[in-house]
């Protein structure tokens, strides 16, 4: 006999993973096996969160075993340093996620499971067929998985697939609901060509959206509800905008939205959310007061618009990367005398990093390029400078500083 599922899983849920199909009985068997292991875990249970089925089974097992669950990202390197690794024993079930890639050491963010589920949408539609475009162990990926589980919907995933393969899966499995980054949507539209599923729900998140993309999605999927979500690993899912326009209504800065308080402090968006995470593993609790998002917001007329990151990090296909940190890395490469790393805007991934490099006297171009390629191989793909130009000097701005503004 299979045990009934926990209240957050509808027993009619279906997971389609590549060619494999999982129903609740399959998930329950996987959870039983994991639970035995988890009960012996010293401080927390750890699994590789690269498959939706594994993530779901591990959530069930960790809840039953009342242990914290750490979902490793498949991108994380074995043995890579993790910030605040001295995770204190924190009793009971919670979920630890690795924050999405920057050039720094990954951080673990601890989430209470109830709060992780605090903003689920579309839970009323058991006929929905969701496509999982995010890493299952990411904040955004979990939101999609938990939504599908709660509604007894079907979740289609293809572990490790490219955008083109996901587009193929979307058509093959007649997907109706997709939540993805703007960068994914651009590539997805290209890969679909003229064919494509009849979507009922189009959700964007993880990056600032642009109006032309919203307009194209509205035209391409005329029957779909269109919304963009503002969320962060630290602050949780905050709000959704459904009027088809970029940014959000400026009036929300006064009124808040859905229980979330919003305000600007020196142009930076601060939030107070009942759904904030419990704190960085090993750090202080962050859930009681205003939290700076680090996102710069400009008010124009009745609209609040996102205008980049306070810390200079840029968004490359949904991954926040630091041009400065990559520049520091290049400056340490043998044969590099000076380097400038900038963000170049493009309509596919929002930005990519480009580099201008001044070779040391006598250094050969081929050697310098090879040394750079080796030096950046350990970075996440989004953080690697892509178009590398060799020059005899770095242009300086009027203040004598390197000009880092985007090239476009």
């Amino acid at each position: 006999m299979t045990e009934p599922p926990p209240p957050w899983i509808d027993p009619s849920v279906r997971l389609i993973e590549g060619d494999a199909h999982f129903g609740w009985p399959d998930i329950a068997r996987m959870a039983d096996a994991l639970e035995a292991t988890f009960r012996n875990a010293a401080e927390m249970a750890t699994v590789r969160g690269d498959r939706a089925s594994t993530v779901v089974a591990a959530l069930v097992a960790a809840e039953r075993a009342k242990v914290p669950l750490f979902l490793k990202r498949h991108g994380s390197k074995p043995g890579a340093p993790v910030a605040e690794d001295a995770t204190p024993a924190s009793p009971g079930f919670s979920v630890l996620l690795e924050t999405s890639g920057t050039t720094g050491a990954p951080k673990r963010a601890r989430h209470g499971f109830d709060r992780l589920r605090g903003r689920l949408r579309g839970t009323a539609d058991p006929h929905a067929r969701w496509l999982l475009t995010f890493d299952p162990a990411s904040f955004a990926g979990l939101q999609v998985i938990l939504t599908a589980l709660a509604s007894g919907a079907t979740l289609v995933s293809t572990p490790g697939a490219s955008t083109a393969e996901l587009a193929g899966a979307a058509v093959r499995h007649a997907v109706t609901h997709i939540s993805a980054t703007p960068s994914f949507w651009r590539a997805f539209l290209m890969a679909l060509g003229t064919s494509g599923p009849a979507l009922a729900a189009v959700t964007l998140g993880g990056e600032a959206v642009d109006q032309p993309l919203l307009d194209r999605l509205a035209a391409r999927f005329p029957n779909a509800t269109l919304r963009h979500i503002y969320a962060s690993t630290e602050a949780g899912a905050l709000f959704a905008v459904t009027d088809g326009r970029v940014g959000f209504p400026a009036s929300w800065l006064d009124t808040g939205v859905d229980g979330v308080g919003l305000r600007l402090s020196d142009g930076v968006l601060e939030v107070r959310s009942p759904r904030a995470m419990l704190g960085y593993a090993g750090g202080n609790s962050a859930d009681s007061d205003w939290f700076s998002t680090g996102d710069v917001v400009e008010v124009r007329g009745d609209r609040a618009l996102f205008a980049g990151r306070l810390d200079g990090r840029v968004n490359v296909g949904g991954v926040k990367v630091s041009p400065e940190a990559v520049e520091q890395l290049l400056l340490g490469v043998p044969g590099v005398q000076d380097a400038l790393v900038r963000a170049a805007a493009n309509p596919i991934t929002g930005h990519i990093l480009t580099a201008t490099v001044v070779p040391a006297p006598g250094a050969l171009e081929a050697d310098v390029r090879a040394a750079i390629r080796e030096a950046v191989a350990d970075l996440p793909p989004a953080a690697r400078p892509r178009a590398i130009t060799l020059a005899d000097h770095i242009p300086l701005g009027s203040a004598g500083k390197k000009k880092r503004e985007g090239a476009a």
């Binding site: 490219s162 587009a167 290209m190 679909l192 194209r216 296909g317 170049a344 493009n346 390629r373 892509r386």
Partner: protein
């Protein structure tokens, strides 16, 4: 002039593929960027567009995204007689 653009796109695609240790199949106007035979992902495609802007001085996407699927459709977005500058 589209011929010139096609050649430029093929050249830069080959360079991007070579950086990844991949070999490019023949590229023609009907070759699809994503979802076809090219060994490139969206980061590679983003790189191509940035390099094309560096080499042509043109950004056809300045006013927003324009849908394109094939090499020929992208080439048609640029207006030039000969490429300028060098990557």
């Amino acid at each position: 002039m589209t011929e010139t653009m096609l050649a430029l796109i093929a050249e830069e695609l080959a360079r991007i593929a070579a950086d990844k240790g991949e070999t490019l199949p023949p590229v023609g106007p009907d070759t699809r960027f994503l979802g076809g035979d090219l060994p490139i992902d969206s980061l590679d495609l983003a790189t191509l567009l940035v390099v094309l802007e560096q080499r042509t001085g043109q950004d056809p996407f300045r006013a927003g995204f324009i849908q394109f699927t094939t090499v020929g459709e992208l080439a048609a977005l640029y207006r030039l007689d000969a490429p300028t500058g060098a990557a």
